[in-house]
Structure formats: structure tokens, C-alpha cells
């Protein structure tokens, strides 16, 4: 018998195993409901409470704001996805700004060193916001791969107010993943941090030390 068979056999003979599914009442989470304005206010407040820079802006003006922020922060090279609406708008706005844009259009093996040591910032879209916890629901794609929101020291994230939900439960249900989830789904709630040295809060450990959210209408 394999380890698998042994383990399953031991579990199966236990009294009460395979019992009818217990009732889980998700009411306490479903009851968390806010108006759209409250959701945005809560998300912004919670994100700021963990050192996130949030800029309330619009669909029309965020690319210009991004340009200003990149210049002000001294971002020399910004990695983005030129083929997505967010990436395309940013590329256009940054043209001639002195900020170089580059696409994550190769497998990581081809440019590991460069991504880790020579990219100043990454730009991604955000699928949804979560008001309850002040989180960004980010789904990496072939155009916006997993390391884009993780390795560069600054992460710019573009989120529309229209997609701020109440809870993670609501977002997951709305995505309707069924049995098939994307390879990776992330909740991001602030820049990377640690309190492992005598509980002193320090921002910027292995992930970005700046999370900049551009909140559009």
C-alpha cells in the first residue's frame, strides 16, 4: 500500500468521517455592505494606513499624473504591458518624458538580472478592489506577469472606483471561477513590510517599498 492509500484508509475508518457537510453560514460576511462612496473611502483609508500612496484621479488624467510621479520619484525605467489599455495609455503619456518604458515580453530566464536590478518600477491594472480589507485584487497575465508587481521597488497600480467590491467573498463569487482558477491570483494591501525586528514596522523588504495606487473614476 502507498502512503496515500494508508493515509486515506486511516481517515476513512474514523468515526464521523465523510459526515454530511456542515452548514456554513456566510451571513456575517455577506452583511458587510457599503455604498460605492463608502467603499472607495474605506479602501483609500485602509490602504493609506499601511503606507500606500493613493491618488484620486480620473480615466483621462491618470496617465499624466503617472508621468509626473515617475519624474518626481526618479523612475528611470518603468516596466509595463504596452498591449493592454492601461499600458498603452501610460506608454503614450511617458513618451518624451525621459522615463524609459519596457515590456515584460520575454520569459524571465532571458532577463532575470535585468528585472531584479535594473527596473525601477512596474505598472499593472487591478481587477477589483476590496473595501473590507483595503486590498487590490490583482490577476497576473502573460502581459503583466507575476513578478511585475513584486520585484521592481515601486509598484504603480491603476484601479477604477467602479470595481471596488465589499468583500473578497463577493469578488471571488463575481469572478465565477468555478473549478478553474488562473495560475496566480493576488491580494495586495500595501507595500511589502516586516515587524520581525522587535516589532518595529519597516516597509520595503523583499517586495516593493512603494505601492502607488492611481484610483480613477
Amino acid at each position: 500500500m502507498s502512503a496515500r492509500d494508508n493515509i486515506l484508509a486511516r481517515l476513512r475508518v474514523a468515526p464521523g468521517s465523510g459526515a454530511t457537510p456542515g452548514v456554513r453560514d456566510f451571513g456575517v460576511i455577506e452583511a458587510l455592505e457599503w455604498t460605492p462612496a463608502e467603499r472607495a473611502e474605506r479602501l483609500v483609508r485602509l490602504l493609506r494606513s499601511v503606507n500606500t500612496e493613493v491618488h484620486e484621479t480620473t480615466q483621462a488624467t491618470w496617465p499624466g499624473l503617472l508621468r509626473e510621479l515617475c519624474v518626481a520619484k526618479g523612475v528611470g525605467r518603468l516596466c509595463l504591458a504596452p498591449v493592454t489599455p492601461v499600458g498603452a495609455a501610460a506608454s503614450e503619456a511617458l513618451a518624451g518624458s525621459g522615463v524609459a518604458t519596457l515590456a515584460y515580453d520575454r520569459d524571465i530566464e532571458a532577463w532575470r538580472e535585468e528585472l531584479f536590478f535594473e527596473v525601477d518600477a512596474g505598472l499593472t491594472a487591478v481587477t477589483a478592489g476590496i473595501a473590507e480589507t483595503g486590498s487590490l485584487f490583482v490577476v497576473p497575465t502573460p502581459d503583466e506577469p507575476r513578478l511585475l508587481s513584486l520585484v521592481p521597488p515601486v509598484h504603480f497600480a491603476v484601479l477604477s472606483r467602479a470595481v471596488i467590491a465589499n468583500t473578497l467573498l463577493e469578488v471571488l463569487r463575481a469572478q465565477g471561477y468555478g473549478a478553474t482558477m488562473p495560475t496566480n491570483v493576488l491580494l495586495i494591501s500595501g507595500p511589502s513590510k516586516t515587524a520581525d525586528i522587535e516589532q518595529t514596522l519597516v516597509y520595503g523588504v523583499h517586495g516593493p517599498n512603494q505601492l502607488v495606487v492611481l484610483l480613477t473614476d
Binding site: R106, I108, L150, T183, N184, S189, A195, I197
Partner: protein
């Protein structure tokens, strides 16, 4: 007392004698308790959430064998390779084999208590493989050649000065600084390169979702995401109890865990992984392995009461609120899992010979049971395991039941029972005791009274006084 019990007592004494340990833990635990309380302002909502958290975990356990099969099938469909291990030795062999097949030189690790349970680092190092911890707390503990003293905050026993000294001693070219930011930057700089060079990334799992074949990991630093994304191979190790049925189940557990643990509304990152890099994707590991470890869990599972231990989501709230843990710290327990959860889990994982004395390290104040987000009846379990430790019973599901039994203690309790069962004897004993007027300060009473004022024995017994008042015959 057997050897492990004696050593436990010695470690407790050493910890109590160390003012630094007491200061470090006291400060940290007070802070954590206050932060947790602030995060649950609405008591009703908290209780409802705990009901839901407990229901989610109980549902998963009730259907554990079926859900594990479902998890396996869905992980495999997603391209995750699933391994099963009955023992720590089997799990270590599986991991070693995977590492050897992929370069076999270095492993970068995210935080994983199951890998501590496996003593995986030792095992890999014994086979010439570097296993480097990347969570800052774990990194500090590894540099010091120690083990974690808390399941969430591994280096909580050290203060900044101690960490600063450690860095100067162990790391090349590091100057002494007590600035936490500077110390963090040093570790970040050193580890960055390691993430690039490691053959394999190894992590734990917080929840595994059966319906989708998804592994959920939570963390603040980003090292967990790097560990599971940057190297070519990702190996996740987890206990078989970590499964939940549906994606819906994640939200309540996420709502409870960080708030109970560190008083944070949510961790910086929640990382849900459902497979290796797919065609067209630019990064992520090309292989993902899941190792499901039993190591005694199926034995606990068989007993309905012991099974509740498997509900644990490893938040650490029970240790943060434990008056004993706050005074002796995590290392005194001598086991991977300290504090109240460790006191009930360790005898089940290791047996009563090795860990049967642990449930004794409790005042049974009940704080752990009150804060546990998934309603594990820890105080009740402590009493149950104290009984297991001193009751020889071949049919007991707990390994080495009765190993802590002491003949003299058993005799004393036998006499105690007898005295209370026979009225004439009872009256004789109480009258004799009151004639002595003082408690005899010998044996355990001597140690007890060395730091307390021994109570004075009343001159007359209660029966005598009542008889004098004429209210008894």
C-alpha cells in the same frame, strides 16, 4: 518525572531566570493582545465570525478523506504534482529527491512550520544542499542557529540589540546598527541574490482549496511570493489538515487569521497559486509540487475530541494570550509548536513520553480557548491530555499514554480518594491536620511555599465547628 519532563522543567527555570527573555516576551505579548482587541471592536461580529471559522474547519475535517482526494485530483488537473508522506522521514526524502533532480544545490525557503516539524533544513544540509530561510524572522533565527520561539514571529525572543550583534558576528562587512530599517535592508540585500540563484523555492501552505486545487499563502514581506515565483521549481509542504472545501471558505479564515495573529486587518500579500507556469506565461515555476504530510495527524483524527486540534489555522493567538507562554517564551517548550496549541498538539505528534509534560504548563485560565478563532476547546484538551499522560491504556489513540505516570503521585491520589470516601477516615485525617496547625513544607510543597506564604491550617475542622454550632449531628 521522565527525562523529557525533567528537561522541560529545567528549561522553564532557565527562562524564568532570564530577565531579557521575560522583558522581550512581555512587551511583545502585551502589544499583540492590544492590537488584536482593537481589530475586533464588535464582539457580536467576532463571535459570528468565529462560528463561521469553526464551521469551515469542522466541515473540512468531517469530509477530510474525500476532500483530500478532490484536492489531489484538482491539483493534478492544474499541473501540480502531489506527493503523500506518512512520516517526516518520507516527506524529507520526497523533498530531497525533487531538489536533486533540479540542480540540487540550493533551496530558498518561505516560512513554513511544517518544514520545521520535518527539520528539513538539517536534512537538506546533511545532504550538501543549502537551505536558506528568507522570512526575516526565520533568517535571524537561522543565523543564530536557533529555532523559532513563536509560530508567527520566529525571532520575537530577540531584541534589536541582540539582532544587531548577531548580524555583526555572522555577516561579512556588516557594521553595528540598532536601526531596524538598516538591519532589514542588510538582509534584503543579501537575500536578493539568493532568490535569483536558488534551484528550488520551498513554502508552506495556509489553506489548500479542494474545489479548485489552489494553494493559499499569506505573508507581509514578499519573500513568500518570491519563493513561489522566482525559482524554477516550487515545493509546498503542508499537513493534511490544511484543506478547505470551497473558495468561499477562504474569506472567513482570512478575515480571522491576520487579525487574531498580529492585529492586522489583512496581510500585505495573499498569494493564491493554482499551478505551474502555463504556455505563454512569462514567469512562475515550471514545476509545482505539493507534499501532504500525515505525521500523526490521522491518529488524532480518529478520536473526535483530539480531532478538534486539527482545526487549527496556526494564528498564534493562543500563545499571545497565554500567561505561561508570556513568562517562559517559546524555547522553553522544546518543541516546534509552543504555547497552548503546542501543549495539545505535541503530545499527539510526539507521544506522551516525549511531550506528555507539556499540557501541565497551563493555569487553565481559559484565555486560549476564548481567543481561538476556530473555537478549539484548548482548555478541555489540556485536561484530556494530562489524563492521557498519566493513564496507561493500550487502546488510547495517544502514543505512549501513561508515560508520565508517577507511582507516588498515583498513590497520593488514591489515598486522597479513599480519605474522601470513608467518613471516619476523613474526620481522623482532618483532625490530625488541624492538630499540626501548619502545612508540612516537604517535597513539592517546599518548592511551592518557597515563593508563597503557606496557608495556615485552621485549629478546628469545619465539621468540629459545625458540630459546636449544633447544626450537624
Amino acid at each position: 518525572m521522565n527525562r523529557p519532563a525533567t528537561e522541560f522543567k529545567e528549561r522553564i527555570q532557565r527562562a524564568l531566570d532570564d530577565p531579557q527573555i521575560r522583558t522581550n516576551f512581555r512587551r511583545a505579548m502585551d502589544g499583540l493582545m492590544a492590537k488584536r482587541a482593537a481589530m475586533f471592536p464588535d464582539a457580536d461580529e467576532l463571535e459570528q465570525l468565529r462560528d463561521l471559522g469553526a464551521a469551515v474547519r469542522r466541515n473540512a475535517l468531517a469530509r477530510l478523506p474525500g476532500l483530500l482526494e478532490k484536492l489531489e485530483a484538482n491539483c493534478q488537473r492544474n499541473g501540480i504534482i502531489v506527493h503523500w508522506a506518512e512520516s517526516v522521514a518520507e516527506a524529507n526524502a520526497i523533498v530531497l529527491d525533487i531538489v536533486r533532480k533540479h540542480g540540487g544545490k540550493s533551496v530558498i525557503k518561505g516560512k513554513s512550520m511544517v518544514s520545521e516539524e520535518m527539520e528539513l533544513n538539517h536534512h537538506l544540509e546533511a545532504h550538501g544542499i543549502e537551505a536558506l530561510e528568507s522570512d526575516l524572522g526565520e533568517y535571524i533565527v537561522q543565523l543564530a542557529g536557533e529555532t523559532p520561539s513563536h509560530i508567527i514571529m520566529p525571532a520575537i525572543h530577540k531584541n534589536t540589540r541582540q539582532i544587531a550583534e548577531l548580524f555583526v558576528e555572522k555577516l561579512d562587512g556588516v557594521e553595528f546598527t540598532e536601526d531596524a530599517e538598516a538591519l532589514t535592508a542588510i538582509a534584503r540585500g543579501l537575500l536578493r541574490r539568493k532568490f535569483l540563484d536558488a534551484d528550488v523555492g520551498l513554502s508552506g501552505v495556509n489553506f489548500a482549496v479542494a474545489e479548485t486545487g489552489t494553494l493559499c499563502l499569506i505573508e507581509n514581506e514578499g519573500n513568500g511570493r518570491l519563493t513561489t515565483t522566482a525559482p524554477d521549481v516550487h515545493v509546498a509542504v503542508t499537513g493534511i489538515e490544511k484543506v478547505v472545501e470551497t473558495l468561499d471558505d477562504i474569506t472567513p479564515l482570512l478575515s480571522l487569521l491576520p487579525r487574531s495573529a498580529t492585529g492586522q486587518g489583512i496581510t500585505t500579500y495573499v498569494n493564491m497559486i493554482s499551478g505551474p507556469r502555463k504556455q505563454g506565461e512569462r514567469d512562475g515555476p515550471r514545476e509545482v509540487h505539493l507534499v501532504l504530510l500525515d505525521n500523526g495527524r490521522t491518529t488524532s483524527y480518529v478520536d473526535p475530541e483530539l480531532r478538534t486540534t486539527l482545526q487549527c489555522i496556526r494564528c498564534g493567538a493562543c500563545m499571545n494570550h497565554c500567561p505561561v507562554y508570556a513568562r517562559i517564551g517559546g524555547h522553553a517548550y522544546g518543541t516546534v509548536y509552543p504555547g497552548p496549541i503546542g501543549e495539545i498538539l505535541s503530545p499527539q505528534l510526539l507521544g506522551c513520553d516525549e511531550a506528555g509534560a507539556l499540557p501541565g504548563a497551563s493555569t487553565l485560565c481559559g484565555a486560549c480557548g476564548e481567543v481561538c478563532p476556530v473555537r478549539i476547546p484548548i482548555p478541555k484538551m489540556l485536561v484530556r491530555l494530562r489524563r492521557e499522560a498519566v493513564t496507561r491504556d493500550a487502546a488510547s489513540p495517544v502514543k505512549d499514554a501513561g508515560a508520565q505516570r508517577s507511582t507516588s503521585e498515583a498513590l497520593i491520589w488514591k489515598a486522597w480518594a479513599r480519605i474522601h470516601a470513608v467518613p471516619g477516615l476523613y474526620s481522623l485525617v482532618t483532625r490530625t491536620a488541624s492538630a499540626f496547625k501548619k502545612m508540612p513544607v516537604v517535597g513539592p510543597l517546599k518548592a511551592w511555599s518557597s515563593v508563597r506564604t503557606p496557608p495556615r491550617v485552621a485549629g478546628r475542622t469545619l465539621h468540629q465547628r459545625m458540630a459546636a454550632r449544633g447544626s450537624t449531628k
